[in-house]
């Protein structure tokens, strides 16, 4: 475990080295950290701040401004559902209700067994083929409540 932590720090340094030279590298660096580790551990922020020669308040401010960035790990799977108007016009409310009920979580929460995190999205640009939902980054169109349940069953996260 201790060794694992050291490796993660090494990787963090490599990522920071790559972006800290860019004047606008902080947001790409956060993307890279999250892509690699699934979230951005708060205890790393001092190191991020040092690399960019910014205050910890500055880097924390940038991180928390953007919906994409997370300070907590997510479940094994991430289910994102569009909450915007075009999907609402095609009945996304029923889909969202079903997902909340079946998973037993609200937006931003992770199921107790750590399997699924449910996140809202404000538009995938799939408005002509809504309602839209993505599972681990793969987008699905024309998803009604029944199909969403089938997809989740297919992943083995619902009984």
């Amino acid at each position: 475990m201790e060794n694992g932590k050291v490796d993660r720090k090494d990787e963090l340094e490599t990522i920071l080295d790559g972006f800290a030279r860019q004047a606008n590298g902080l947001i790409p660096a956060f993307h890279a950290i999250q892509e690699r580790f699934g979230y951005i551990p708060k205890e790393w922020l001092p190191e991020v701040a040092r690399a960019f020669n910014l205050s910890q308040a500055d880097v924390y401010g940038v991180l928390t401004f953007y919906h994409d960035f997370r300070l907590q790990p997510v479940g094994r799977h991430v289910v994102s559902v569009c909450r915007a108007e075009a999907c609402q016009a095609n009945g996304s409310a029923a889909l969202i209700d079903r997902l909340r009920r079946k998973l037993g979580v609200d937006f931003g929460e992770t199921t107790a067994n750590n399997e699924v995190t449910l996140l809202p999205t404000y538009c995938f640009g799939n408005c002509a083929c809504g309602p839209s939902m993505a599972i681990d980054g793969k987008l699905y169109g024309r998803v009604n409540a029944e199909r969403a349940e089938r997809l989740l069953r297919g992943m083995g996260v619902l009984e």
Binding site: H31, Y66, D68, E85, A86, A89, T121, G125, C127, A128
Partner: protein, 520 residues
């Protein structure tokens, strides 16, 4: 023989990748040799995945095609263009497509969007080639004469914006493409980047030549991963082909281009917030003036234009300003790629000259509601655009005509709702959305949106005295007139239009709301 299967985010959401793989497998199993091309989408989304077969230069389309139908299509002889329930005939003859006037979208959906050879064969880089023979002033003049206005939403004349940056004196200038297409009901930027990325690159290079900017950025939203992948590849190929870099096509002129990915903030679609974000900071709005055209990215003169604006430029340069200005009506020149979505039978991309009525768009193109129920309202111009009732569908698509009924063109998105929608709830949603997305810089937006949700909750729960209505209208008044940018300034539009046209959805009568909302 060629078979085309779109590689478009929406088509893939409907299984296009699986269909493409199934076609490959099935062809191999049957010993048939065919070339599988991944094109963009033609934007006839109710037919996606739309598979096209090309024999002797002629195309026959089949759609929508599911993975499980592929073997049946082979059995039925779709490679010979034979009959099948999904057969749509020549795709270019489908009335939805044939009746459009595609300038920006003329190549989208036809071929492999990443083939430079194909792009050149289809007239690509003709605009850039001509621009290289002109002076910056001449290019700006050409764009000004075309009458092109910003397609991101503000509708500001592009030529005037460019002229301001051209005249600014600085050691470095920038072109920034706003590809943070966050409006619900819009997807035309995504389609261009996925379906014709060289067009955007060409438009940005021309903009660089026009104002003397040698560096550009495309700010793309993170919700568009396929667009990112395709554009990264297109950038590499354009650099290798000599269309970007220190010496564009041997002209001695430089323009380099980079891709920058956003991080899920709607407000970053506002240009000053976008610039802050592009500098790696929180996307906080900058008060204007100074204008980005003079003090933009890193305080240097910067042209910030939407994808469609920049993608309109190559054809203006190639075919001349007059050809572009001949299309459209009044002060709304050229074409607009309208995006139809929501509850419609035939949602999709419709590029037409300005001047078409909303009715034609919704019924002749859109085919009316998908649910078969009456169409109750449309939201036009994005999530902060107003809701309009059927009595206004005779209005034409035109910046000024829409403004007369307090409508907006926005980024060209139209979302249709049937009679199951409650506009009171949609108004509450608009306030909630604004509260979640406000950058927090100005009080009317930051506090006003949260108070707006509270007031809407009171109204929707039945506490509907005259004072509450007055409070909501006052709140909207302050947000419209005192917010720093369009987020706070336009959030009242869906609320007030809902009250004006559908007061019963809020529990009021026309008599209750009439005098109050008419003032705003």
């Amino acid at each position: 023989m060629k078979v085309y299967v779109p590689r478009d985010f929406s088509a893939c959401a409907l299984g296009a990748d699986e269909v493409a793989r199934a076609i490959g497998r099935e062809a191999e199993r049957r010993g048939i040799s065919l070339e599988l091309v991944r094109n963009g989408s033609r934007g006839l989304y109710w037919l996606e995945p739309l598979v096209e077969v090309e024999r002797n230069g002629k195309r026959i389309a089949y759609g929508p095609v599911g993975e499980e139908e592929v073997a049946g299509l082979f059995d039925g002889g779709f490679l010979e263009g034979k009959e099948h329930p999904a057969r749509q005939g020549d795709p270019e003859e489908i009335p939805y497509l044939r009746r459009q006037k595609r300038l920006v979208f003329r190549r989208v959906g036809k071929n492999d969007p990443l083939s430079l050879d194909q792009y050149r064969r289809d007239g690509g880089f003709a605009g850039l080639t001509r621009a290289l023979t002109l002076s910056p002033q001449q290019i700006v003049e050409e764009v000004t004469k075309s009458g092109l206005r910003g397609r991101g939403g503000a509708g500001f004349p592009t030529g005037i914006k460019w002229k301001t940056t051209l005249q600014a004196d600085a050691d470095q200038k920038y072109i920034v493409c706003n590809a943070d297409e966050g409006d619900s009901g819009t997807f035309s930027d995504r389609m261009v980047i996925e379906g014709d990325p060289f067009l955007l690159i060409e438009g940005m290079a021309i903009a660089g030549l026009a104002v003397g900017a040698t560096e550009g950025y495309v700010y793309l939203r993170s919700e568009y991963p396929l667009a990112r992948k395709i554009f990264e590849e297109a950038l590499e190929r354009a650099r290798a082909g000599g269309y970007l870099g220190k010496d564009i096509l041997g002209s001695g002129k430089a323009f380099s281009l980079n891709l920058y990915i956003g991080a899920g903030a709607y407000v970053c679609g506002e240009e000053t917030s976008l610039l802050e974000s592009l500098e790696g900071k929180r996307g906080m709005i900058r008060p204007r003036p100074p204008l980005p055209a003079i003090h933009g990215l890193w305080q240097k003169p910067t042209v910030v234009n939407n994808v469609i604006t920049l993608a309109s430029v190559p054809s203006i340069l190639a075919d001349g300003a007059e050809a572009y200005a001949r299309l459209g009506v009044g002060r709304s020149k050229g074409t607009l790629p309208v995006q139809l979505s929501g509850n419609l039978k035939r949602p999709g991309l419709v590029e037409v000259p300005f001047g078409i009525t909303l009715e034609e768009l919704l019924f002749e193109y859109g085919g009316g509601t998908a649910s078969g129920r009456p169409l109750k309202a449309i939201q036009i111009g994005g999530p902060l655009g107003p809701y309009l009732p059927p009595s206004l569908f005779s209005v034409t698509l035109d910046y000024e005509e829409l403004a007369k009924v307090r409508g907006i063109v926005g980024h060209g998105g139209i979302v249709a709702f049937d009679d199951t929608v409650n506009l009171g709830e949609m108004a509450r949603y608009a306030m909630e959305f604004c509260a979640g997305e406000s950058c927090g810089k100005c009080t009317p937006c930051r506090i006003g949106s949260t108070r707006g949700v509270e007031v809407m909750d009171r109204i929707l729960s039945g506490k509907r005295d005259a004072g509450t209505l007055q409070l909501l209208v006052d709140l909207c008044d302050v947000m419209i007139h005192a917010s720093l940018c369009g987020l706070g300034g336009m959030t009242p539009f869906p609320v007030l239009s809902g009250l004006r046209f559908f007061p019963e959805d809020f529990g009021y009568t026309k008599a209750d709301v009439g005098p109050l909302v008419e003032k705003l």
